[in-house]
């Protein structure tokens, strides 16, 4: 389906994404090595000989340059090294698993964001200046003037505390997951908190772009063919209205990734975001570097996906 040129372009972009990830992790690598202290100098006293052995195990006794060489050769093989705190635990598989947990919540938030945002936006545009339009606009304003941690806290208060008290502990939302992956019920509230501010942005953008598209000549042509309003909107208007919405999909994905750091910690979700905060607190710098690498990869891939989505939606764009 993809042309040769598109495949070459895809290849180039993938190389660029990988390069960016290496560059980001290098910067973080050099950064954390400038920080005073390390994971072993925490609270308990440690035997100097043992410390020496540990330092050697993690190559911390080598020069910075040699350490960096080892780090880069590792990362190129996909090896992010070993946790400094939980000795012997390789980081790559750990973060990969946690990334899928984050992906689960993030994808739910993204689907929710785009779905709700578009539905609200389309309804607001079609029923312009009706009560639905005003309600959608009001919801949007609330949505994007409230940061996600406020929404998260309010949701926790409602679903975990009030609901518990009101139902005498029969129904409530339990914070913290017992398994690795959440159930649909467990995902829904964090996904809502994560996606809602962006849903508002998508709604406003969809509304504006839909109104613009509905005034276009080709909509009149579609009606003049005798197509029903529903088909005119879904087939002719929506796809065109989506083009500007796709533009913000890149920043939106980044917003969801960064937002997940807060949300995962509020809701106790064992994903990349929670790991990120914990690794900083425990000075597990190898994991900190690893998380940054994952985020850089995720953002690069998301942007790449968005660019290809463009070509799928708008045939005038070709790479």
């Amino acid at each position: 389906m993809l042309s040769r040129r598109a495949l070459i372009y895809l290849g180039e972009r993938l190389v660029l994404v990988a390069f960016t990830a290496v560059a980001v992790s290098s910067i973080v690598f050099l950064g954390v090595h400038q920080l005073p202290g390390n994971a072993f100098l925490s609270d308990r006293r440690i035997d100097p000989v043992a410390l020496q052995a540990i330092m050697h195990h993690y190559h911390l006794d080598l020069s910075l340059f040699d350490q960096y060489k080892l780090f880069v050769s590792g990362i190129l093989r996909g090896d992010l090294g070993e946790s400094l705190v939980n000795r012997g635990i390789p980081i790559t598989p750990l973060l990969l698993r946690e990334a899928t947990v984050s992906l689960e919540v993030g994808a739910a938030a993204l689907i929710f964001t785009i779905g709700l945002g578009m539905v609200l936006g389309v309804i607001a545009a079609i029923k312009q200046n009706s009560w639905i339009d005003y309600l959608a606009t009001a919801t949007s304003v609330v949505g994007y003037s409230m940061p996600n941690f406020v929404i998260a806290t309010v949701l926790v208060l409602i679903f975990a505390v009030y609901l518990y008290n009101w139902s005498g502990g029969a129904i409530y939302y339990e914070i913290g997951w017992n398994g690795t992956y959440g159930t649909l019920g467990q995902i829904s509230i964090p996904a809502f908190a994560l996606g809602f501010p962006y849903a508002s942005i998508v709604a406003r953008l969809t509304r504006a772009s839909m109104l613009e598209v509905l005034r276009q000549d080709y909509i009149r042509t579609a009606k003049a063919k005798g197509l029903s309003d529903r088909i005119v909107i879904i087939r002719h208007a929506l796809r065109n209205a989506l083009i500007p919405v796709v533009t913000i999909l890149g920043p939106l994905t980044i917003g969801i990734i960064t937002g997940s750091v807060v949300i995962e910690n509020v809701f106790g979700i064992p994903g990349l975001g929670k790991e990120f905060v914990q690794s900083i607190l425990s000075r597990d710098y190898n994991i900190v570097i690893g998380v940054f690498t994952f985020y850089a990869l995720a953002i690069g891939l998301a942007n790449l996906l968005v660019d290809f989505l463009y070509t799928a939606i708008d045939p005038r764009i070709r790479y």
Binding site: D217, R220, T221, K223, A224, K225, L227, R235, H236, R239
Partner: protein, 334 residues
């Protein structure tokens, strides 16, 4: 004579804007017979497009048809339920628009947009629709139609896009094709080709054509009969040849005086008559053309003329008419 396929009776379409009520179409009546070619001419803003859109009930907010009847084969489109109007759109009455680039959906294949016109009204398989779309593209003389169906509008040239629009319009073999300035956005040579195509299609398919244009020359190239509109009204109507040789309304006369040459620059081809087009919220008293009329008399300032017979099949809304005006001019000079 056969019964008219379309009868427009005292049509009024108005736009309810913040500045006031725009009387875009103000009492237009005409008949269209099967297979006939009818031109509607007039300068920009005189209500040609709104008349056409009213026929398919496609006038956009804040516009509304406030009066009159539009009888299609005897049934009134104005009062028809929405679903019935939708049945007529594209099937019995098709419409093509001025700018073929903006009138085609940029994200859908040309072939698909033609197939869709058929599928809106008949249950046919995708394969049949596709082969019919190819056939239609061939009919409007698009070369390599088999591969061109797969193209998107931006891959077509301006003339080909308008051909594709025409193919789309003909998809359901409508009894009426309304073409709203189908050539205005095109190059001169392409204009002539499109007109020729419409002329041939009218002969082949017996589809009646309403051709809307600024350009008297374009009317002469295709139509048998013409309506001249001014400020939301028909001011003169009749057979094209007769009106060309013997216009009776001073407005028609000035249009013909300023008849644009096909080889002139595009801007010059648009009609220009001295004076400003009238305000349709508060149209001039008496004859609406009087502020710009060279031949006006006292009566024109307060008395509004309606269409009067001025020749076989020809009518004009004027107290003076060119016959008398020119006779007077001659006397004055003598």
């Amino acid at each position: 004579m056969t019964a008219p396929v379309l009868q427009v009776k005292d049509l009024k379409t108005q736009f309810f804007t913040d500045d006031g009520v725009v009387k875009a179409v103000d009492g237009v009546s005409f008949d269209l017979h099967p297979g006939e070619t009818l031109g509607i001419v007039g300068e920009s803003g005189c209500g040609k497009s709104v008349t056409a859109l009213s026929i398919l009930r496609l006038v956009q907010e804040p516009g509304r048809i406030t009066n009159g009847q539009i009888l299609f084969k005897g049934t009134d489109i104005v009062t028809m339920p929405d679903d019935d109007v939708r049945d007529i759109r594209g099937k019995d009455i098709a419409m093509i628009f001025q700018d073929p680039l903006s009138s085609l959906n940029p994200v859908l294949k040309v072939g698909y947009q033609i197939e869709e016109a058929m599928e809106a009204h008949t249950r046919i398989s995708g394969k049949v629709a596709l082969s019919r779309a190819i056939q239609l593209l061939k009919q409007v003389r698009i070369p390599a139609a088999e591969s061109r169906v797969e193209d998107y509008p931006h891959q077509f040239s301006g003339g080909m896009r308008q051909r594709a629009m025409i193919a789309m319009g003909l998809a359901n073999k409508p009894s009426i094709l309304i073409a709203d300035e189908p050539t205005t956005a095109l190059d001169v040579t392409v204009q002539a080709q499109i007109l020729e195509l419409l002329r041939d299609l009218n002969q082949e398919t017996k589809t009646a054509i309403i051709l809307i244009t600024h350009n008297m020359g374009v009317v002469a190239g295709l139509c048998k009969r013409v309506l001249v509109m001014y400020a939301g009204r028909i001011v003169e109507q009749g057979p094209v040849e007769q009106i060309f040789h013997d216009p009776q309304h001073p407005y028609t006369w000035s249009l013909l005086q300023s008849i644009p040459r096909l080889d002139a620059d595009r801007k010059d081809r648009l009609l220009s008559i001295e004076g400003l087009p009238p305000d349709l919220i508060k149209p001039p008293s008496g004859c609406r053309f009087h502020p710009r009329c060279r031949f006006r008399i006292e009566r024109c300032f307060h008395d509004d003329p309606s269409l009067m017979d001025v020749g076989p099949d020809q009518a004009a809304a004027c107290w003076v008419t060119m016959r008398r005006a020119l006779a007077q001019d001659g006397q004055a000079r003598a």
